[in-house]
């Protein structure tokens, strides 16, 4: 039973345009949402996060939007660059501290973004 879902396995975007990656979740106890970026043969790297008490967080070209009523978040990348081509994972943290550790994250399956020159 997936608590974090990324329904689009892949996305292709032209350089300079906006990339929008979507994520849905089912657990209303999640208190933080994070986006990780992963290149082949490397570990995921942290990109941006948002607290459940906010609806938007922006960092340079990256903006994450959270719609709690819809249990939906999205990552916007503007403008998209070829170097952004990677797999993007949406992750959520259980505010009840799964097993007592705050760092336990639940990941989606990822969306592979391809930015074409």
């Amino acid at each position: 039973d997936q608590q974090v879902k990324q329904n689009s396995p892949s996305l292709s975007v032209q350089e300079g345009r906006i990339s929008i990656l979507n994520c849905d979740y089912t657990n209303s106890m999640f208190d933080y949402f994070l986006w990780y970026k992963k290149y082949p043969a490397e570990g995921p790297t942290f990109l941006i996060s948002i607290s459940s008490i906010k609806d938007k967080n922006e960092d340079g070209r990256f903006t994450v939007f959270l719609n709690k009523s819809a249990k939906h978040l999205s990552l916007h990348i503007v403008p998209s660059q070829p170097g952004d081509s990677a797999v993007y994972f949406c992750a959520a943290r259980d505010g009840l501290n799964y097993g007592g550790s705050q760092g336990n994250l639940i990941f989606g399956k990822g969306t592979k973004l391809s930015v074409k020159p």
Binding site: G43, F89, G100, Q102, K109
Partner: protein
């Protein structure tokens, strides 16, 4: 300097063998983790560990055991390897005591059981 490093990066071994994957973090973090990414690309937590507590995902077979010689290391031991253990294993760390929620991953260890 690599913040979270794990070795080996690639490991091919036969069924029934016992193997270990080592992990070290130089971030001064107080909590370390092991995650597994299976063939379906799901990235799932296996263990989280700080100096005081080991939390085990109940779905992890007891053939898997984490060992922490000190705060900066969390090694993963796997006994009696099975074909289904083939996956990418990621070590990670975070600073729990600061209330942080960001975890930092190693580059992964590709385990193939034949």
């Amino acid at each position: 300097d690599t913040a979270v490093s794990q070795t080996p990066k690639y490991l091919v071994t036969q069924m029934g063998n016992d193997k270990s994957i080592k992990c070290e973090q130089n971030l001064g973090h107080d909590t370390m983790y092991w995650y597994k990414q299976d063939s379906k690309k799901f990235l799932k937590i296996m263990f989280s560990y700080n100096n005081k507590e080991l939390i085990i995902n109940e779905t992890v077979p007891n053939r898997f055991s984490p060992k922490s010689p000190d705060k900066a290391h969390l090694n993963l031991h796997i006994n009696s390897l099975e074909l289904g253990d083939s996956a990418v294993y990621f070590c990670a760390s975070s600073q729990e005591s600061s209330g942080g929620h960001t975890i930092y991953f190693g580059e992964g260890s590709w385990l193939t059981v034949v």
